[in-house]
């Protein structure tokens, strides 16, 4: 499904990036980083609407030749980015949405861990396994 899953802090530094190991990791870093511009644009466009009714899911950020990049912003401005293969046409918007929701709830669990220091990179096994599950299904 996903080839790259990233969590980005409010201040736009990566909290977690994981990509399919066979691929060029650097490329995904660049892709995710660049997508932040679009996220910012979308958020600032949406931001004028009522804040509590804001949709967290941002939808397709932009398509590249090989990948589609989807975004999601939590209320605390933490961004989730999922990159999927363009060739994978079976994925519907709803499925992406549910992936994000899963990711969000797992992320919430990580944040609830009293030993987690907010702002640190995420090193959680359960989070890892959730992300792996998202990536494994594809291959």
């Amino acid at each position: 499904m996903a080839v790259c899953v990233a969590v980005i802090a409010k201040e736009n530094y990566p909290l977690y990036i994981r990509s399919v190991p066979t691929q060029n990791e650097l490329k995904f870093h660049y892709t995710v980083h660049t997508s932040l511009d679009v996220v910012e644009e979308k958020v600032s466009a949406v931001g004028k609407a009522l804040p509590d009714q804001r949709e967290l899911y941002l939808g397709l950020l932009y398509p590249t030749e090989d990948y589609k990049v989807y975004g999601y912003v939590t209320n605390s401005k933490v961004k989730f980015v999922i990159v999927v293969d363009s060739s994978n046409t079976s994925l519907r918007d709803n499925e992406i949405r549910s992936m994000f929701r899963k990711l969000h709830s797992s992320f919430t669990d990580v944040m609830c861990n009293p030993f987690y220091n907010p702002g640190d990179t995420i090193q959680s096994k359960s989070f890892d396994s959730i992300v792996s599950a998202m990536m494994v299904q594809s291959s």
Binding site: Y13, L26, Y30, H33, D37, E40
Partner: protein, 1428 residues
Amino acid sequence: MAQCAQSVQEFVQDSFVPTVAVLCSADAERVTRRNNLSFPELLRPFCRLTSEGHLRDPNNLVVVVKGLRISVTGVNTQPLQPGEVRKLLSQAVSGCQPPEGLPANVVTAGDYDLNISDRSVKASVPWYSDWKDTFTQLSSSKFYTATTPWFEAYRENFLQSMPASDHEFLNHYLACMLVVSSREAAPTEQFQRLSQEQHRVQHSGEYTHPKWFIPNTLKYYVLLHDISDGDEQRADSVYEDMKQRYGTQCCYLLKINSRAAAAGPAEQMPDPWSQYLQKSRAQSPVSPAVLSEVDGHDVFCACVAVNSIDTSRKQGGLPASSTPVAHGACLTLNDHDRIRQFIQEFTFRGLLPHIEKNIRQLNDQLVSRKGLSRSLFSATKKWFGGGKVPEKSIAELKNTAGLLYPPEAPELQIRKMADLCFLVQHYELAYSCYHTAKKDFLSDQAMLYAAGALEMAAMSAFLQSGAPRPYPAHYMETAIQTYRDVCKNMVLAERCALFSAEVLKSQVKYSEAAALLIKMTSEDSDLRSALLLEQAAHCFINMRSPMVRKFAFHMILSGHRFSKAGQKRHALRCYCQAMQVYKGKGWTLAEDHINFTIGRQSFTLRQPENAIAAFRHILINDSKQVATQQSAFLREYLYVYKSVSQSSSDVTLPQLPLPCLHSAQTRVFFGHERRLAEGEKQAATHVWLDQEYDGEQAQLWAELEEQVVGVANKGSVPIGFQPTQYCLSCHTDNLRYPLAVVEEPIIVEVVFRNPLKVPLALAELSLLWKFTPKDFSRPPGGVPGEALSNEKEVTALNDIISTEVIPEFTIGPEETKVARLQLLPHKTGELQVLSVLYSLGTVEEDNGTTSRPTFVRGRQDLEIQGPRLNTTKEEKTSVRHGPDHRLDPVITPPMPLLEVFFINFPTGLLCGEIRKAWVEFVNVSAVPLTGLRVASTHPEFFTFGCAASDLTPVTPTASEHCSAYKTMATPPSVAATMLVSPAMFGVSGDDRPTVAEIPLVGGGLGPGEALQIPLWLRGPDREGVHEINFLFYYESVEKNAKLSHRVLRHKAFICASRSLSVRATACHSNTLPRRGGAEEEGGSSMLVFVDVENINTSEAGVREFHIVQVSSSSRQWRLHTCINPTGDRDSRLASRERGKLCFRATRCRTQEGETHARKYTFADLNLGNEQIVSSTTPCADFFFRRGSPSEAQKGGVSVGGANHTRRQSLTPAGGADDGVTGVVQKCSEVELNIIVLWKAYVVEDNKQLILEGQLHVALQTVGKEACSVPQKEEAQEMVLLKFKPDQPPPVSRPTLEQLSRLIKTCLHYPESYDHPFPQKSLCMVPVTLTLSNCSLAQVDVIIDLRHKTTSPESLEVHGTFTWLGQTQYKLQLRPHEVQRLVLKACFFQAGVYNLGTPRVFAKMAQAGTMCETSQQSSMPALIVINSV
């Protein structure tokens, strides 16, 4: 952002200009050559018209032509080959670099401040607020410079090098100038010939490349006259002739070269040609340097100045010269005006009317054709078209890009007309024509033509000033798509995209422009892709909400393409700009990648400092790269670094990034490395770097040192005393400069951490220092010596300070390792340790290769930040750090250095065991030492003996099997006594002596001398492991201003195991002291019961204990005799056995003892045949050094005392009772210390050993048990917190029990008495009642004899008797007075009687109010009355 110097309109206009060909006769060429110019070049600076031109369109409307430019080129100029074009372009780009050193412009975009090397002030202006104003300002303003000049250079060159195409006519020649010199023999014929030549070129079909707009090209005849050297009249006459022949409109006489070439170099002439010619000169010949750069092979010799002039100039064959050739040397300003005039004349008289005529002509043709229906027209084309028939079969449709109309095809006429209109700025007509043409071409499926028409239609729509028509962006898109996909013509597509992007940008449609530019990137041209990506990146940042990250990403892509295209400098610039976005944001992978690229590019561009900085950055950050990648980075870094350091001859070594140096954890140690045990000798532990810092320990040592210094300075600690610190770390106080002694090493421990996943190898590790020699013995104020440093060569100054060099030092992956580096100063002065010097290299895994891994030399500074200051308010509110002088030691003159060794020092002892060990003191320095003292946390543990003792065997070996005690052969008998003053044993007052002076022969130790003295140890009373700290203190004989004393530490661990437990009780004896000897003893005696239990648990080791002797030591009491009931003299105790000993103690003759010096009486009662003299060294020493009675033992007494004081403060009225209480208590107090000396038989390794020991019991209260083994303190229970003050305790009175012990009574009578009752019925027996006052106060005593025993049982047992005579006595007893009272008892019959009936009441004489207390009745006193 790439803003152009021109507005978009200007740019488009200038890109499409009428072109004019020039055909020159050889003579005319020669005339212009005098100025180093060809004829077209001569005209070029004057090709822009300054005045407006006019012409009429087919509808007779006047069209104003503003700022028209014409392009003049030689007719034989060859179009460039694609390869040449590529070279030309890359040369143009690489030749144009951003200016360096200019104040860069900062663009603030969101959270980012981008430092982009453009100086366009307006780029960051918020567009949305008033974009139109901004835009007009931008486009009209000439103040800002172009920001991506390389892109503009590229564009200009690209447009100029566009080959003429068949589908459009914009750059086809409209006219041809025929130039003939006036010196020609027959100018007219020459004109004729040139005209024929032109005709041949245009119409013969032999030539393909110069393309002509219209079949009848305008021919313009120019007669060139050289003023300085020609016949002017002839020229005029020829001109007249020409006018007649060709008409005035098409002729011109141009007079130039007003002065001779050699004339006046002094006169400064503007050189308008240079800016045009520089480019043209560099055009075709390409220098090898540039070639190589373009090919990307040899990158090192890149960027040789491209504008240096080539050796071979293209056709002219001018001599090569490095100085720019002066152009127009023969031209005066008048000549310039003439040329300008000529161009104007040519344009207005010749060119524009020609164009006007042609437009009319074409228009007429089109109008005449309009009558035909479109379909019929195309149908006729079908029938009669012949060669130009477009194939419309389905199969051919795809291929229609190749469709070509013949040059005179009617479809092209409209396009021609449109182009003409466009060239003369009649955009409205041009648009409608293009639009019509587009429809035609599309219906013919002539895609190339259609695309061209679309492109130009869009352009002319854009250029129509004030037109209601919006810019048709989709036209452009379609055009680009068609060019690219259908026609596969990237050049045209690119041109179209360049225009479109420019237009879109001018309309603030940045995202569209960016998308367009990105679409145009392709694999076939790296340079174009790079440039377009860069422009796209600039578009992103100029968007309404700047997309910084997209900017950065596209800059990286652009940089990548630049580097592929061989444009290293531009690539580096791109990466650097992108870096600003990625820097420090946690995107480490990307950051590393950029840094790596920057490093590489910088290196190839010979910017090694930048390269090193970039590589350094990759290495020091916690890199997430894999190990192989890291090792690649490292190798690259080392390689770059090495090549840099080889090339530069800098004196100061550069800083190395690896491994990480934890400066704060640096530790400094002063002194030698610790010597370990030598054979039996065990060195003092002292201080060493391996020991962890322990704050409590440090505090403890500091306190000990303060104590010993206080003692050494006769009770006062000097002001400014600071405990000696041998090992400085981040925990110690480093505010002062530490003191080091000359000729003693300084060891600096530095902590390295390798952050990488590959091992690092360091070599030749050493310290870098700075040293200022100073002589401290001289008075201060002397001139300090010059500072020295070992920076140049590490070991060069070894005669001043020896520097240790560690040859090899390897740090594993992600390892933290310490290195200890030593310095040995040989001179006094001030030293500063600055940094660590080392060579950094990689560890080669492959063992077979011979290649030595590369090592680079560098340093890392040791910069230690002091602790944060937090005392004043200012310091609290700001962050300030204090100094840290850890690494700046002061080297002081020599000081003695003591080494201490312990011989036979045990590790385990029984509790109370006495062991003799030896200490060796060695002065290893060259300076004598004195004033040796020792302080300890456990002074009761050891003793060096008192000064008087001389009983010791002289060597440790001789003493092995001797007893530690001094013994005398004496049979057991009455105790031998000895009076000893505690001062003899160095004990003064009650406090424990923590500091002891060590007796040295001659008071000191000379250099190199050693001294062995005995040391007695006594096992601690508590079992368990004990940590015992010794602090040896010593001074130099000579006073050292900096360093008054030195100390040596030793820490010993002793494991104490249980031995015996001694419990003792004392009770008053009721027996009267015997007459004679006892009388003088003061009359009182006590019984002391000593219970000894073997509580040793190790069954294997200790077989049995023997009690050898019991001694007493007290100021008031002494043991007198042993009154053991059994004859068991040598009492032995096996495991868990218990023995009891009974002693009688008497009061010593203390009255005088108390007055002088409070001496102690030692009384020895030996049970065997050997008396241990307890009053001498080991025994008495340990007695005096014994710990104060533990709290548990003291409790009973001290509680009363505490209450006492408390009550005093609360109720001062009760003063009278105090005395009573004190007296009463005194009465039951004893102060007797029992020393039990024992021997233990221990089997160890099948050998029997005899251990000796002594245990102390302090008896304090009569009847109360005291124990040698300190009671275990009960776990403190949780105490409720009280918030109210305690109730004052009830007023304490002496208890009844205590009061009842005031008087001791005793009855003396015969045990049996025979009385003949039959003779005498009354038997009278004399009985003596002895009353002794135990207290120290006067006591009133009442003796009442009337009392009868009332208990029934006693009645049963005893018969009754009566006391005769006085039945009540009142007595007063002085302190310790004994009185005897003679009584008479009267018995009536034989029997057994209890005489103990007298009741004794006592009361203190002073305490008037108190009633008498009944005194403790004595035992039943039975008397047997026999009847005989």
